[in-house]
């Protein structure tokens, strides 16, 4: 059994799975339930000067019958008093001394930041997360993403926090910014101990075509809402990798964004996340999802003979580079396994209309195929014209059968050559420019 316990910038927890700051981490009651279910840490719902919420707060993107592929909200930070929140943090820490409780804070002035950081210490919190991310409600008051979007402002405020902080400080980054590493570097310069990302993305999920109002609707009106859930995972992975790869950042990362199961978590870890935080998946299915996250990650680490989360952390970071360093002489083509092909022809029509027109529908006799699964007499079967296949992957992505279409490397016999090398060779007349694609 691998060791799932972690020491994240000085914060210890029995496993790397934390409940992200949000509706599931609003109360002591929920924190108790989370820890009973197996979560390693809870990032408390952001504490600040109490706000007032609107009624109707969440909306979702459904695809087909799949609910909540994406999710958004216009709920603000905690609407409970700081007294109640800090008192409950203290209660929770008393009952769960070995679990991580992180106080998420959002304040309006240097004095208030100092006060809330001290109150976090006093409550026994293991760390502090600075919420510079909320894209709605708070930013209009000069907080949340209004801070996160301006690295210099974020740096100054983080500096205020570091003046008094005695426990690790995590800066939570907003994705609503052109270059995420600028914000991460600012956190580093200010002396923060770690970063967490991503917060939610500015979004509107839908328009009601009868009322022309969007959800969440408040008396016929809506607002720009923070987007999260499985649909944002690719955006979050991109930003986590960017920060992990930046030599000027080099600090512990807590990964957030659409994490729903152990695979998602492991992918964030491979891109350098030392802990991961989940929220939407809990809002969808409850705290119980952590059971399989723990079991699955354990089994995976064992299978890969990794002894701890640290062994996994960052393993994939170096395998992402800039486009101009990719090998232009690498070639792969699609192969269709006619023994498992069910004859839906989705690969054909995708390639035909959406890509490069290199799948033919051919009579089964011409391919020497007998009748079989997916085979109908005289009904044409798809076959890739490998000479024309550019290896784009589209057919293998639309294929509804696992492992039916595989992408196979075709040895080109040429040594690797990146775009940069190609440009250099053309400039030095070592080679002629490649002919354009017909």
């Amino acid at each position: 059994m691998a060791d799932l316990s972690i020491n994240f910038a000085g914060i210890r927890s029995p496993n790397p799975f934390w409940v992200a700051s949000g509706p599931p981490s609003n109360t002591a009651y929920q924190a108790h339930r989370a820890f009973e279910s197996g979560w390693g840490g809870v990032v408390w719902k952001t504490i600040g000067t109490p706000i007032v919420n609107v009624s109707s707060r969440y909306s979702a993107l459904d695809i087909g019958r799949q609910r909540m592929v994406g999710f958004n909200n216009i709920e603000l930070i905690s609407d409970r008093s700081p007294e109640v929140n800090f008192q409950e943090i203290a209660e929770v820490k008393k009952r769960w001394p070995n679990h991580a409780v992180i106080a998420s804070l959002m304040c309006e002035s240097r004095e208030q930041w100092h006060e809330f950081v001290r109150r976090s210490h006093d409550a026994g919190a293991d760390g502090i997360e600075l919420n510079y991310g909320c894209p709605h409600g708070m930013c209009e008051r000069g907080m949340g993403s209004a801070v996160g979007q301006q690295p210099l402002v974020a740096e100054r405020i983080t500096g205020w926090v570091m003046e008094v902080a005695k426990i690790p400080v995590i800066v939570k980054l907003t994705p609503n910014i052109t270059d995420i590493t600028a914000a991460a570097r600012a956190a580093k310069r200010a002396g923060a101990n770690a970063i967490s990302l991503i917060n939610t993305i500015n979004s509107i999920t839908n328009v009601n075509l009868d009322t022309f109002a969007s959800e969440p609707t408040v008396r016929g009106m809506s607002s720009h809402a923070g987007y999260c859930g499985p649909a944002v995972k690719p955006i979050a992975l991109n930003m986590v990798q960017s920060c992990a790869a930046d030599p000027e950042v080099r600090m512990p990362i807590s990964g957030i964004g659409g994490i729903s199961n152990w695979r998602d978590a492991a992918e964030f870890m491979a891109f350098g996340a030392g802990t991961v935080q989940a929220c939407t998946a809990i809002m969808h299915h409850g705290f119980r999802i952590v059971d399989d996250m723990i079991e699955g990650l354990n089994a995976y680490l064992d299978e890969k003979k990794m002894r701890s989360v640290d062994d996994l952390c960052g393993r994939a970071v170096a395998n992402v580079t800039t486009w101009e360093k990719l090998d232009l002489n690498y070639q792969r083509v699609a192969r269709i396994n006619h023994d498992t092909c069910i004859g839906c022809n989705l690969c054909y029509i995708a390639c035909e209309d959406g890509a490069h027109q290199c799948i033919d529908l051919l009579h089964p006799d011409s391919l020497g195929l007998d009748l079989g699964p997916g085979r109908v007499p005289n009904k044409h079967v798809p076959k890739v014209r490998e000479a024309d296949c550019v290896g784009c992957n589209l057919c293998s992505l639309v294929c509804p059968v696992d492992k039916c279409i595989t992408m196979v490397e075709i040895p080109s016999g040429k040594s690797p050559m990146s775009w940069n090398e190609y440009q250099a060779k053309v400039a030095s007349a070592e080679m002629k420019p490649l002919p354009p694609h017909p």
């Binding site: 087909g64 019958r65 069910i342 004859g343 839906c344 022809n345 989705l346 054909y348 029509i349 035909e352 027109q357 033919d360 529908l361 051919l362 007998d370 009748l371 079989g372 699964p373 997916g374 109908v376 007499p377 005289n378 009904k379 044409h380 509804p400 059968v401």
Partner: protein, 479 residues
């Protein structure tokens, strides 16, 4: 009498429609004898566009609502669904089709509109059954003025008079005839061609004639006692159910149904539902040789219908002018393949009602009465070009049971539709556009067509597959 197949609840339909992979050049289209673009209509249901779905269905098959209920989908579209090969349940295409067509029926929404321009040509259609309606609807949409001649009081043919009541209510069939009328087709009921109006009259008054007469009366067994009052033809029995209040239909306590086809199953299950205490299907050959679909056979067994195989009727037992039983002889199949009666094997099955489901007469005589020079094959059906329905007489086309000898309702609709295209090409030299999916390189590479021309059937596929496997295994077929 409740429907045996229940309609889908809206969410059930949405869940099911979302399971569809939306195949390109889908096998279900190939398997549909009317060539319905199945993935397209299912996609519309998934998108919440039931009206568009119904339009897609009815454009291809005007009897889409009844076919949704009575098609043997397990051997047609659903039998060809690619999900079988992913070890999943096929899409419930029949029930989705019912969902879409019910949606517009229940709301009185007309999804098909008669064309704005008529081409001035007139076509006579003989018979308002599935073939006639299929032909008339297609012609009307192509701009023809169509008149249907129907000898019965009500239009619809088999769909109105001869489908098991627990599958299809006659009212729906009449509504489908109204759909055809809404396209501008005139239906003249109570007019028998060959008696009230001659074939020559039709040739004179119309640019073309389509014959969709169906089949005739039930076959006779020609054994003693056949005229007893409780001995009915199965189709006559089903017609009674369709035309009289259910509580007034006479039904025996012990019913014997003779025959091994789907009509025998229908008659047996109707008898159970009308209160018969014991229903027995008597078939002269073995279980394996029954022409009824396996799923129909299963349904009958679930209905507690008894089966007596390898038993051939010899005579009916007459007690004071009423049937009291049936004399049967046990049979076996000789090595020559001929069915033989086993000497001394006679037995009597007691019963007080007999339903005969031993096939229907071919229409050779009436076809000859209408068109004396029409070429009729040795099998008693009109000889025609299978793609266009063209006969040896120019201007005369044929389709449905009177040409194919008796197949499914959906085959009749498809043949009517093919004949409409044949007539259109014959009269105008133009090709009607067909509902095939477009492709880059036509036939050589791309969609290979739809079931309208060469419908595939799942059980035929299964047979071919087994044969191919048997050949691979050195000619030995595995159990």
């Amino acid at each position: 009498m409740a429907d045996i197949q229940l309609p889908m609840r809206p969410m059930e339909a949405h869940v099911e429609a979302n399971r569809c992979l939306y195949c390109f050049d889908a096998p279900c289209i190939h398997a549909c004898p009317t060539g319905i673009d199945v993935p397209a209509f299912i996609r519309k249901i998934a998108d919440g566009n039931e009206i568009g779905a119904a339009k897609k269905i009815l454009e291809a098959n005007i009897l889409g609502a009844s076919c949704a209920r009575i098609c043997p989908t397990k051997v047609l579209c659903e039998g060809a669904c690619v999900l079988h090969d992913r070890d999943e349940k096929p899409i419930e295409i029949g029930r989705l089709q019912r969902h879409a067509t019910d949606f517009v029926n229940e709301r009185g929404i007309h999804v098909l509109k008669p064309p704005q321009k008529k081409n001035g040509k007139r076509v006579a259609v003989v018979g308002s059954g599935p073939a006639g309606l299929g032909c008339a609807a297609e012609l009307a949409q192509l701009g023809y003025e169509v008149t249907i001649f129907e000898k019965s009081k009500l239009p619809g043919g088999l769909n109105t008079y001869g489908i098991a009541y627990y599958k299809l209510k006659p009212q729906l069939s009449l509504e489908e005839a109204e759909l055809v009328q809404d396209l501008g087709v005139e239906i003249r009921c109570g007019v028998e061609v060959g008696r009230d109006i001659s074939g020559a009259d039709l040739q004179r008054d119309f640019n073309a004639v389509f014959l969709g007469l169906g089949l005739g009366n039930g076959n006779q067994l020609g054994i003693p006692g056949e005229k007893l009052p409780e001995i009915l033809d199965a189709l006559e029995f089903i017609e009674q159910i369709h035309t009289n209040p259910l509580h007034q239909i006479p039904i025996g306590n012990q019913v014997v149904v003779i025959g091994g086809g789907n009509t025998a199953i229908d008659a047996a299950m109707q008898s159970v539902r009308l209160g018969a205490k014991r229903v027995t299907i008597v078939y002269r050959r073995s279980e394996a040789e029954m022409s009824a679909y396996e799923f129909e056979f299963e349904k009958a067994k679930n209905d507690s219908v008894h089966f007596l195989f390898n038993a051939v009727p010899i005579a009916f037992v007459d007690v004071e002018g009423h049937v009291a039983g049936i004399r049967l002889g046990r049979t076996h199949t000789a090595k020559s393949g001929k069915l033989e009666m086993i000497a001394g094997s006679e037995l009597t099955e007691e019963c007080d009602m007999i339903l005969k489901a031993v096939g229907q007469e071919k229409q050779a005589d009436i076809l000859r009465t209408i068109f004396p020079s029409l070429q009729i094959g040795a099998d008693g059906v009109a000889v025609r070009d299978s793609l266009t329905g063209a006969t040896n007489i120019a201007h005369v086309f044929v389709g449905g049971d009177c040409a194919n000898g008796g197949r499914e309702v959906v085959n009749a609709v498809g043949e009517g539709k093919n004949a409409a295209h044949g007539i259109h090409t014959f009269l105008t030299g133009e090709r009607a556009s067909l509902p095939t999916q477009p492709s880059r390189l036509g036939v050589a590479s791309g969609a290979s067509g739809c079931g309208l021309h060469h419908p595939i059937r799942a059980h035929e596929l299964e047979e071919q597959w087994k044969r191919a496997r048997a050949a691979e295994d050195g000619g030995v077929t595995r159990g």
